[in-house]
C-alpha cells in the first residue's frame, strides 16, 4: 500500500461503506483499504480476509518458551549439581512452573511482535491517506487508482453517497 495516488472517500454509514467495498471488489479493485475507529467485521468480511498469520507467531513463541524454560532449568541444575532437600538433581515437576511461565511470556511477546510486523507498526511516516475523522466516527475507503480506473472508482464510490471524497497524488 505504498501507493498514495487514488481516491479516498469517507462515509457516515456502515452499510453504505460495506456496500461500496463489495462493489469495488466485484469491479476488480483488489487493493482497497478501509478505515474504521473500531474493529468492524463487516468491512473485513467485505474485503474477504483469511486467517491472520499472527497465530503462527503465538504458537512458535509459546513453544520456544516451553522448550527454553525446561532447557534452562535442566541445564543450570546439571551445570552445578547440588542436592537440595533430598530432591533429584533434575526435578522436572518443579520446573514445569518455570516452563509454563516462559511459555506465556514468550508466546505473548512473540504475538505482539507478529502483530507489529504484519500490520506494519510502528509507522512513523506521516499519514497522507488519512482523515482524523476515521478515529472518531466515520468510515473510510481508499482505492489506489489512476486514469480510467480512477473514474470507475469515483463512480462506484459516488453511488453510495460518501460524506466527502478526496483524490490526487496525495489523496
Amino acid at each position: 500500500m505504498s501507493q498514495s495516488s487514488g481516491i479516498l472517500a469517507s462515509f457516515d454509514y456502515l452499510d453504505s461503506t460495506a456496500d461500496a467495498v463489495k462493489e469495488l471488489k466485484a469491479a476488480g479493485f483488489d487493493e482497497v483499504t478501509t478505515y474504521a475507529s473500531y474493529p468492524e467485521h463487516h468491512l473485513e468480511d467485505a474485503l474477504g480476509y483469511g486467517e491472520s498469520p499472527v497465530r503462527v507467531w503465538t504458537l512458535v513463541g509459546a513453544l520456544t518458551g516451553t522448550a527454553g524454560g525446561f532447557a534452562f532449568t535442566a541445564w543450570s541444575s546439571m551445570d552445578w549439581p547440588l542436592v537440595v532437600g533430598g530432591k533429584p538433581i533434575l526435578s522436572m515437576p518443579a520446573y514445569v512452573v518455570i516452563a509454563f511461565e516462559m511459555t506465556i511470556l514468550f508466546g505473548a511477546l512473540s504475538t505482539v511482535l507478529g502483530m507489529f510486523i504484519n500490520s506494519r507498526l510502528p509507522n512513523v511516516t506521516p499519514a497522507v491517506v488519512y482523515d482524523p475523522e476515521f478515529s472518531s466516527g466515520r468510515y473510510g475507503v481508499f482505492v489506489p487508482a489512476s486514469g480510467t480506473d480512477l473514474d470507475r472508482a469515483r463512480e462506484i464510490l459516488g453511488k453510495h453517497d460518501p460524506a466527502e471524497t478526496r483524490e490526487g497524488a496525495h489523496a
Binding site: S37, H42, E101, L105, M115, S119, S135
Partner: protein, 475 residues
C-alpha cells in the same frame, strides 16, 4: 442480532437491551472519553497531593529501614513474614481482576466488560508495580535483590528452581510484562483517537504512543487476532500467578498453610478483592467525570454479582479449612484453627470472616446492587477484609508453629505501617496520572457494543447483505 425483532419492540425495550442506552453516536464516545484528558480540576490536585504524600511516606520509611537495617520492622523469630508479605499478596490479588475482566471476560464475551476493562487493566499494572516493591522491601538488603534473577554470576551458581519463591519471581515478572503489553496494545487505537484530537505537545506525545495507528482493515485484522491470542495466554497466566503465590505458603509444612485447597482459594480471593477494588475506584471516577452513560447500574450490578459469587467461594474455602483441620485429626492443625478464631489474633480472623463472608451477602438484594453508595461502602469492607485475610494466614500460622518454645507474637512496627499505608499512595499516584494522561475507558471497544449508523434503518429489505444492527461484541 435484534434486527429482525426490532419492529416488535417498543423504543424503551430496545434501548433497555443496549449496553449503553444513552449513547447513540460513535463520535460521542470520543468526545466524552477524550474530554477526561483535559486540564485537571481541584479535586484531582487534592487527591494527587495526598498520593504524593503517601509516596513520600513509603520511600521515607523504606529509606529509614535501609539506613538502620531490617531490625526497625517487627519481623523477628518466629514471625519472619509479616505486614510486607501480607501487603505483597494483597496487591498481587488486587491486580488479578484486571486480567480477569480484560482477558477471561473477553473470551467469554461478557457484554458488560467494555466500559470497565481499561481501568481494571491499569489497576493490574499498578497493582503489580506496588506488589513488586514488597519483596524488595522485605529482603532487607535491597541492593542484593538482583540475586533472584538467574544470570551467569562469577561462580555460575544458579537459583534453586525447586523453590516456590523462585517460581514466584518468574510468575510475577511474567505477569507484569504480559499485563503491561496487553494494557498497551489495547490502548494503541485509543491513543490514535487522542492524537487526532489533541494539539501541540500532547499531539506529539500521543503520536509516539499510537505508533502511527490508522485503523486500516489490515491493522484491525491482525490487532483482533493478536488481542484474542493475548487474552488466551493471559487467562491461564492470571490463574497461575496467584496459584504460585499460594504455593509460597502451601509448599511448606507450616500448620494452616500446607493445604491443597490453597491455589483455588487464593485465586478466588484475588478475583474477589480485585473486582471489589474496581468498584471502589470506578465509583468516584464515574462521579467526577460524569460517566453515568458509560458506567450504568447494569455494569455495577454485573460486578456486584461477581463479587458475591467469589465471596461465597472464598467463604466456602474458609469453612473447608476449618473442616479439614478438624477432620485431619492432626493436633497442631486443629489447634491452629482454634487459635485463629479464639487465640491472640481472634480480632483479625473475625474481621476477615465478617468483611469477606457476611457483608457481601447483602448483595443478594437487587436494591443494594443498584445503589452506588452501598456498593462503595461494601467494597471498602471487602478491601479491608482481604488485607486481613492474608494477615491471618501469614501471622497466625508463623506465630504458632509446632514447637511451643518457639511460639511468639508479632506486632507491625511504625516503619512497617508507614510502608503499608504509603503503598496505597504509590498505587494512587500512578492511577491518578493514568486517568489524566491516557483514556481510562476503552473507546474502540465501546463502539463495538454501540449500534453503528445505518442508512437502511431496520435492514432486511434488500435480502441477505443487510448488516445487523448490533455488531457482535469482541472478535
Amino acid at each position: 442480532m435484534a434486527t429482525a425483532t426490532d419492529a416488535n419492540l417498543t423504543e424503551a425495550q430496545r434501548r433497555g437491551a443496549l449496553a449503553h442506552p444513552d449513547v447513540e453516536l460513535h463520535s460521542e464516545v470520543n468526545r466524552d472519553i477524550l474530554k477526561m484528558l483535559s486540564a485537571p480540576g481541584k479535586g484531582w490536585w487534592f487527591l494527587f497531593s495526598l498520593a504524593v504524600l503517601g509516596v513520600g511516606l513509603l520511600f521515607g520509611s523504606w529509606g529509614w529501614q535501609v539506613y538502620r537495617g531490617i531490625g526497625v520492622s517487627g519481623l523477628t523469630s518466629p514471625v519472619g513474614w509479616g505486614a510486607y508479605i501480607t501487603t505483597f499478596v494483597f496487591w498481587v490479588g488486587i491486580a488479578h481482576s484486571g486480567t480477569l475482566i480484560s482477558a477471561i471476560l473477553f473470551l467469554f464475551r461478557a457484554p458488560w466488560r467494555q466500559s470497565i476493562y481499561r481501568m481494571a487493566e491499569a489497576m493490574t499494572v499498578f497493582g503489580v508495580m506496588t506488589a513488586g516493591l514488597f519483596p524488595l522491601i522485605h529482603v532487607g538488603r535491597v541492593w542484593h535483590a538482583y540475586w533472584l534473577i538467574p544470570y551467569p554470576n562469577a561462580r555460575y551458581l544458579w537459583p534453586n528452581f525447586r523453590s516456590p519463591l523462585v517460581w514466584d519471581v518468574f510468575a510475577v515478572t511474567t505477569y507484569f510484562t504480559v499485563s503491561s503489553v496487553f494494557f498497551y496494545l489495547g490502548m494503541v487505537p485509543d491513543m490514535a483517537a487522542a492524537r487526532d484530537q489533541a494539539k501541540g505537545i500532547r499531539r506529539k506525545l500521543y503520536s509516539v504512543i499510537a505508533l502511527g495507528w490508522r485503523g486500516t482493515d489490515r491493522q484491525w485484522h491482525h490487532f483482533g487476532k493478536a488481542y484474542l491470542f493475548l487474552a488466551a495466554l493471559a487467562t491461564p497466566l492470571v490463574l497461575s500467578v496467584h496459584s504460585v503465590v499460594s504455593w509460597d505458603f502451601a509448599m511448606s509444612i507450616v500448620p494452616g498453610w500446607h493445604a491443597t485447597v490453597f491455589a483455588p482459594y487464593f485465586v478466588a480471593g484475588a478475583i474477589f478483592s480485585g473486582v471489589a477494588m474496581v468498584i471502589t475506584l470506578a465509583v468516584p471516577i464515574r462521579k467526577v467525570f460524569g460517566l453515568e452513560a458509560y458506567l450504568t447500574t447494569k455494569h455495577f450490578d454485573a460486578m456486584a454479582k461477581l463479587v458475591m459469587l467469589t465471596s461465597m467461594i472464598v467463604f466456602y474455602a474458609y469453612l473447608t479449612e476449618f473442616f479439614m483441620a478438624w477432620y485431619s485429626g492432626e493436633p497442631p492443625e486443629k489447634q491452629m484453627f482454634w487459635n485463629r478464631l479464639f487465640g491472640h489474633y481472634w480480632w483479625a480472623t473475625w474481621i476477615m470472616l465478617i468483611c469477606n463472608g457476611m457483608v457481601p451477602m447483602m448483595l443478594w438484594f437487587k436494591r443494594i446492587r443498584h445503589s452506588i453508595p452501598a456498593l462503595f461502602a461494601i467494597t471498602i469492607f471487602i478491601n479491608i477484609g482481604m488485607w486481613f485475610e492474608r494477615y491471618v494466614i501469614i501471622v497466625t500460622s508463623l506465630s504458632h508453629e509446632y514447637a511451643p518454645f518457639a511460639w511468639g507474637v508479632y506486632r507491625p512496627s511504625l516503619t512497617e505501617m508507614g510502608i503499608v499505608i504509603g503503598s496505597f499512595g504509590w498505587f494512587s499516584f500512578w492511577f491518578l496520572l493514568f486517568i489524566r494522561l491516557l483514556p481510562p475507558v476503552a473507546i474502540a471497544e465501546l463502539k463495538e457494543v454501540i449500534p453503528p449508523m445505518m442508512r437502511r434503518k431496520s435492514g432486511g429489505h434488500d435480502g441477505g447483505d443487510a448488516v445487523p444492527a448490533t455488531a457482535p461484541a469482541g472478535d
